[in-house]
Every structure is written in C-alpha cells, then in structure tokens.
Amino acid sequence: MDPSEVEFLAEKEMVKIIPNFSLDKIYLIGGDLGPFNPGLPVDVPVWLALNLKQRQKCRIVPPAWMDVEKLEEMRELERKEDTFSPVPSPYYMELTKVLLNHASDNIPKADEIRTLVKDIWDTRIAKLRLSADSFISQLEAHAKLDNLTLMEINTIRAFLLDSLNCMYKLRSNLQPGSSKKQFTDY
C-alpha cells in the first residue's frame, strides 16, 4: 500500500469549516452534506474542505486535538509508556500534513504543532522498530500491538512480511524430512 493511498483514505475524515458562500443541502452517495450558510460552521469531509479552501470559499477550523497543550501532553505520555498510547485521531499524521500545508493560516502555532506531531510520530515509529526487532530476534510466533495507525503499519508492512517469509524458508531447513517434493503447476 502506498502512502498516497493512506492519505486518500484519510481524506474521508470529517472536519469543521466555516464557508463564505451559501448552498442548499447536497446529496452525495456517501451521505448528505448539510446546507452551507456564510459564517456558520458545518462538518464536511477533508477532501471537500481542502477543495473549498483552495478556491478560497471557506475557513478551516482545526480539530480539537490539534492544540499545542494537548499535543504536548500526548507526546509526554508517548515517551513515558513502553506500549503505544491511544492516538488523537486514526489519521493524525496525514491530517496534520494536509491541513498544515493548505490551511496553516487558519491554524494557530502551526510550526509548533508540526514539530510536536513529528515528535509523537518519531517516538511511535521507534517503538514499532524496537518491537519488530525483538519479535524477529527472539523468533516469536505472534505479537499483538494496540493503537497503531494505518500509516505506521504501512511503513513496516512490506519489510516485515518479506523478512518473515525469508525466515520461514530458513526455518524450514531446520526440519529435515519434512520437505517433500511439491510440483506446482504454473
């Protein structure tokens, strides 16, 4: 899975915007998007919010978790715990990148938020790598990790699966006599 696919999935999340135009309720396959009145906040998916923002038809309201104090607490919690702590949003990384790239004028202290989210990401990825390393070096059979987001899983998926494949092949060498000839048809 590409990171761009994960970003595409992230754009389904809802975010609050304040439009500067008016429009009746629109009926889409995925659901209805409420009537747009200038100055009144309305919930829309991120893909629509970005599109409207680029056409300068709205102002994006940062989500509740995108706040310096909250992110600092989250970062400290992440650093203290050995396991993964619950995330502010299952797509926190993508939303941060996308909202800060397109709507940084609507988000206060954008740079600090960027730094904080990156710190949280780095800590989580380091824990993930440590966990994968101990999984492989102790040749364990299964592991359980809570609170991982799709983007983090995506970074490690390809490599871990290939390595486990190689290890399976090497481990099957250790069992002599279990290798019967199997002829597969291509």
Binding site: D133, I136, S137, I156, S163, K169, N173
Partner: protein, 170 residues
C-alpha cells in the same frame, strides 16, 4: 500501483527450488568443490587443469550446483560434495560472533540460498549450517530494516555492496 504483464516466480522455500524462478536458476550456477568417486570416461575436457582424456577417480574439481545435485546419490557412487569455505566451521564462528560486519556479497551473492541447497548433500554438519543461516539472517535484520526505512542523504552503495541478493530485493 503497477500492473505487470509478467509475474516473476519467487525462489523456492527452504531446500526446494522453484524450477521457473530466475533467482534459483542463477543460484544454481554457483560452483561447488567436489571429489569424484568414480571415473568419468571421455569427460576430461570438463576439468581444464589436466589434459587427460577422462577424469580419474578421486579428482577434486568444481562443478555447478545444478550438476552436483543431479549427480549426487546417497550411496556416493558418483561424487561427494565438500562444503564451500563460507559454510565451514571457521566462518560459522565468525557469523555467530557478529553477523553485521560480514560482506555477504563477496561470499557469493547467494549466501542464504546456496546454504539451503547445501543441506541436500547430507553433510554431518547440516543442523549447524541451518542454524547459522537463520541466526545470521536474524542478526542482520535490524540493520537492514534501519537502512531500508530511512533515506540516507549520502551515497549508500557501500552499504548495499555488503548485502546478499535476498536482501537487495527489499
């Protein structure tokens, strides 16, 4: 997302080889030191060091893996295979000590694959060879993972050179 009109066949699992896998075909070209147990009449041209018409019993020569596997028999009537240097006791202790420093590409680019195939030849050291292969892979895993997931801002060819071909695919 790429569409391919050709789906590559992957190398075989463990001691098996996939007939159609390109990696396995290239792997089986590696030469192994062997000792003939019977005479090979009129095949003297295979052994370039002497000009004899046929190959006498007890000659030490090198044959590729595909030929050795085909001619090998348990009762050893035709040839007996010696382990290449990298799979012997000396190198095994090096691998057990620290797998990360070894230049696997220099050892023959198919360290893991060839090692798995060597287990066909019923050497008494087979369990140790299998164990060393696994431990080397596990030991090198960490560094391979770090290198593959972070883009270095410098020339990485020095790192890549030291990898076995299994790892360069990742």
């Amino acid at each position: 997302m790429d569409t391919q009109s050709y789906l590559p066949v992957e190398p075989g699992v463990g001691m098996e080889e996939n007939f159609l896998s390109l990696d396995d075909i290239l792997l089986s070209h590696e030469r192994l030191p062997i000792r003939t147990e019977c005479r090979f009449p009129r095949l003297g041209y295979l052994e370039r060091s002497t000009d004899a018409q046929d190959i006498p019993e007890g000659t030490k020569m090198e044959l590729p893996l595909w030929l050795s596997k085909g001619l090998y028999e348990k009762k050893r009537r035709v040839l007996s295979v010696e382990l290449p240097k990298v799979y012997r006791e000396g190198w095994r202790t090096v691998f057990n000590a620290d797998p990360n420093v070894v230049d696997l590409h220099k050892m023959g680019p198919y360290y893991y694959g060839l090692g798995s195939q060597m287990l066909h030849f019923d050497s008494p050291e087979n369990p140790e060879i299998a164990q060393t292969l696994l431990q080397t892979f596990v030991g090198r895993f960490r560094r391979n993972m770090d290198s593959s997931q972070n883009a270095y801002n410098e020339d990485t060819s020095a790192l890549v050179e030291r990898l076995d071909s299994t790892c360069t695919l990742k």
